[in-house]
C-alpha cells in the first residue's frame, strides 16, 4: 500500500481544504435553521410558487420549515456540489498528474506494476472521499444536536448515502478520463461535476428532459424525492454504479497499455 500512503500524503492539503470548506458551510447552514424556522411559513409559500425554480430544487415536495426539508434543499446543495467537485477533482487528477508533472518516469521505473498503481490510486481516491463524507456526516449530526433539533436519522442517512454514491460514481467517471489525459485534468473534472449538476436541474424543470436524471448522478440525489419517498431510486443508483464501474474499467484498459511520455 505504498502508493496509497503516498497519494494520501500528496492529497492531504486539498482534502483538508475541501473538507473544512464543505463542513464549515454545512454547519453554518444548520446553525441558521433555528432563526430561519420562524420565518419559513411565508417563505415556504413563496418558494413553492416559483414555477420552474421550485421544481428544479424540489421545493414543491418538502417543507422548508422542517429541519429535514431545509437540510435536504440547502445543505444538500452544499454537500452535493462541494462533494462532487472534490471527488471529480481528486479522481481526474490522480493518474494524469504523473505525466503532467513528469513524475510517471520515476514511479513506473520502480518494480510496481501499472495494475497495482491504478488500484492503489483508486483506493486512495475512495479513501479520501469516504473520509470526507464521514467527517461531514459527523459535523452535520453534531450541528443538528447543538441546535437542539431532533435528528431525522433515516432521511439524513439516506441523503448522505446518496451523495456518497454520487461522489463514487463521479470519481469512477473522472478516474477513467484521467487515464487518457496528460494535462488539463482539473478543468475537465470540475466541468463534468458542473455539467452533471446542471443536467439534473434541466431534468427537473423540463419533463421531456426527464431521462437525463438517469444519466446524471444528481438524478438519484434529489433531496425532496428522497425525503418524500423515504428511499433511493434503485434503478438510477444501479445505472450510476454501472457508469462509474465503466469509468474504472476504462482506466485499467487504457493505463495498463499506455505509452508514458
Amino acid at each position: 500500500m505504498t502508493v496509497v500512503r503516498h497519494e494520501l500524503r500528496q492529497g492531504r492539503l486539498s482534502f483538508l481544504i475541501w473538507t473544512g470548506a464543505i463542513g464549515f458551510l454545512l454547519s453554518v447552514c444548520i446553525f441558521l435553521f433555528p432563526e430561519m424556522k420562524g420565518e419559513m411559513d411565508g417563505v415556504g409559500e413563496l418558494f413553492s410558487s416559483m414555477g420552474s425554480f421550485t421544481a428544479a430544487f424540489g421545493m414543491d415536495k418538502i417543507s422548508f420549515g422542517t429541519l429535514i426539508g431545509y437540510y435536504a434543499i440547502e445543505c444538500g446543495n452544499v454537500l452535493g456540489l462541494g462533494g462532487a467537485f472534490f471527488a471529480a477533482l481528486c479522481a481526474a487528477d490522480v493518474l494524469a498528474k504523473e505525466e503532467k508533472d513528469r513524475t510517471a518516469e520515476f514511479l513506473l521505473t520502480h518494480p510496481v506494476s501499472r495494475g497495482r498503481v491504478v488500484t492503489e490510486k483508486l483506493i486512495a481516491v475512495f479513501l479520501q472521499i469516504t473520509a470526507l463524507n464521514l467527517v461531514i456526516y459527523a459535523l452535520s449530526l453534531g450541528s443538528m444536536a447543538l441546535i437542539g433539533e431532533e435528528i431525522p436519522w433515516g432521511e439524513v442517512n439516506l441523503l448522505h448515502l446518496a451523495y456518497y454514491i454520487l461522489q463514487l460514481e463521479l470519481s469512477g467517471i473522472c478516474f477513467g478520463i484521467s487515464a487518457f489525459l496528460r494535462k488539463g485534468s482539473a478543468g475537465i473534472g470540475l466541468g463534468i461535476a458542473a455539467i452533471t449538476y446542471f443536467l439534473n436541474l434541466i431534468a427537473n424543470i423540463t419533463e421531456s428532459a426527464g431521462f437525463l436524471s438517469y444519466v446524471t448522478p444528481f438524478g438519484y440525489c434529489g433531496g425532496a424525492d428522497i425525503v418524500s419517498s423515504g428511499s433511493l431510486d434503485g434503478v438510477k443508483v444501479a445505472v450510476g454504479v454501472l457508469i462509474g464501474a465503466a469509468g474504472i474499467a476504462a482506466a485499467y484498459g487504457k493505463y495498463l497499455k499506455k505509452d508514458i511520455r
Binding site: 505504498t2 518516469e105 520515476f106 514511479l107 505509452d259
Partner: protein, 293 residues
C-alpha cells in the same frame, strides 16, 4: 548471459521517428556507453527497455527477461537514472529515497546514507528547492541505493560539477567491479571514452556502430593537419574541414594514396596525421556537427 539484448527493436510514433530495428547487445558486467546526440533515440531505447513505452515491433530481453512480459522482474533488478530527475512535490530528499526503497520493498537506509554522504546530499533538504544538479544526485541515490545488478543511466552527469562527476564515476566503477552492468547513455563522448569498455553509436534511431571503445577509436578515419597550401577540392572522404591562415585540418577516411599525391603536389611545410579521439570519430560517423554539444 547478456544484460541487454535487442532484436530488431522498433518504436515509431506515427510520422515521428523513434528507433528502427535496433540491434544491441550488452554483456553482463560491462560498462557500456550509448552515444548519440539529442533526439537520436537514446531515451526512446531506454524507455522501451524499461517498459515505459511499448515496442512497435521487434523484441528485447534485459537480464534474460522479455521487456514486455517480464517487466516487473526486470525493474526489480534495475536501477534507473532519468536524464531529468523529477519528483513528487512537497517531499524532502529522505522521504523520496524512502518512497523509492518502499516501492522496491527494500530497506536501503544504510546504503542511502552512505551515498548521500559521498555525494554531499542533505536528506533533510526539500526536493522542490534543490538545484538541477542536486536533484540529479537524488536520482542517483534512488538508482543505486538498492544495489541492483543493472544500472541504466540516461545522461547521468548533467548538472553535476566536475568533482561530483568524478565521485559519481568512482561509485560506478566500484559497482562495476562488484559485477554490476552499467549502461550509460551520453552525448558527452569524453566521459564514455574515459569510463566505458564498449559503446554503441545511435544515429536517427539506428545503431550505426558498436564495439569496444578502443576499436571505435581505431576507425579508418585520421585527423590530418597541414601547414602550407594544398588543393583538396574533389578529394573524397574529407569531413570536418577547417581551413585557416595557411593551415588545413580535416578528418580523412578516403584513399590515402590519393591524399598523399595531392599533398605532394602542394606546398606542405608541416604535416600531422593522428588517430582521432572518440569525439572526432563521432563526427566522422555523423558527418555533421549539429548533434554535438
Amino acid at each position: 548471459m547478456e544484460a541487454i539484448r535487442t532484436d530488431r527493436l522498433t518504436k515509431s510514433y506515427g510520422k515521428a521517428r523513434g528507433i528502427t530495428e535496433l540491434e544491441l547487445s550488452v554483456g553482463e558486467g560491462e560498462f557500456f556507453g550509448f552515444i548519440g546526440p539529442n533526439g537520436a533515440g537514446k531515451s526512446t531505447t531506454i524507455r522501451t527497455l524499461l517498459g515505459l513505452i511499448r515496442p512497435t515491433s521487434g523484441s528485447a530481453r534485459v537480464l534474460g527477461r522479455d521487456i514486455v512480459k517480464e517487466n516487473q522482474a526486470i525493474l526489480r533488478q534495475t536501477g534507473y537514472l532519468p536524464s531529468e530527475a523529477v519528483f513528487h512535490p512537497g517531499m524532502r530528499v529522505g522521504e523520496i529515497l524512502k518512497f523509492s526503497a518502499d516501492l522496491r520493498r527494500r530497506d536501503c537506509a544504510a546504503e542511502a546514507k552512505r551515498l548521500c554522504e559521498r555525494l554531499r546530499l542533505d536528506p533533510a533538504a526539500k526536493a522542490d528547492e534543490l538545484s538541477f544538479g542536486n536533484r540529479k544526485k537524488v536520482g542517483i541515490v534512488c538508482a543505486l541505493q538498492s544495489e541492483p545488478p543493472l544500472l541504466i543511466l540516461d545522461e547521468p552527469t548533467g548538472g553535476l560539477d566536475p568533482l561530483m562527476q568524478r565521485e559519481f564515476f568512482d561509485i560506478l566503477r566500484e559497482r562495476s567491479a562488484k559485477g554490476a552492468t552499467v549502461f550509460l547513455s551520453s552525448h558527452i563522448l569524453s566521459e564514455v571514452q574515459r569510463n566505458c569498455t564498449r559503446a554503441a553509436v545511435i544515429r536517427e534511431g539506428k545503431i550505426i556502430a558498436c564495439g569496444s571503445v578502443e576499436d571505435l577509436a581505431k576507425s579508418s578515419a585520421r585527423r590530418v593537419s597541414v601547414l602550407g597550401r594544398v588543393d583538396l577540392s574533389g578529394l573524397e572522404g574529407i569531413r570536418d574541414l577547417k581551413e585557416g591562415d595557411g593551415t588545413a585540418s580535416f578528418l580523412y577516411s578516403g584513399d590515402m594514396s590519393r591524399l598523399l599525391s595531392r599533398l605532394a603536389e602542394g606546398d606542405v611545410r608541416d604535416l600531422s596525421v593522428s588517430e582521432p579521439d572518440l569525439e572526432e570519430i563521432f563526427l566522422h560517423y555523423y558527418g555533421k556537427e549539429d548533434g554535438l554539444s
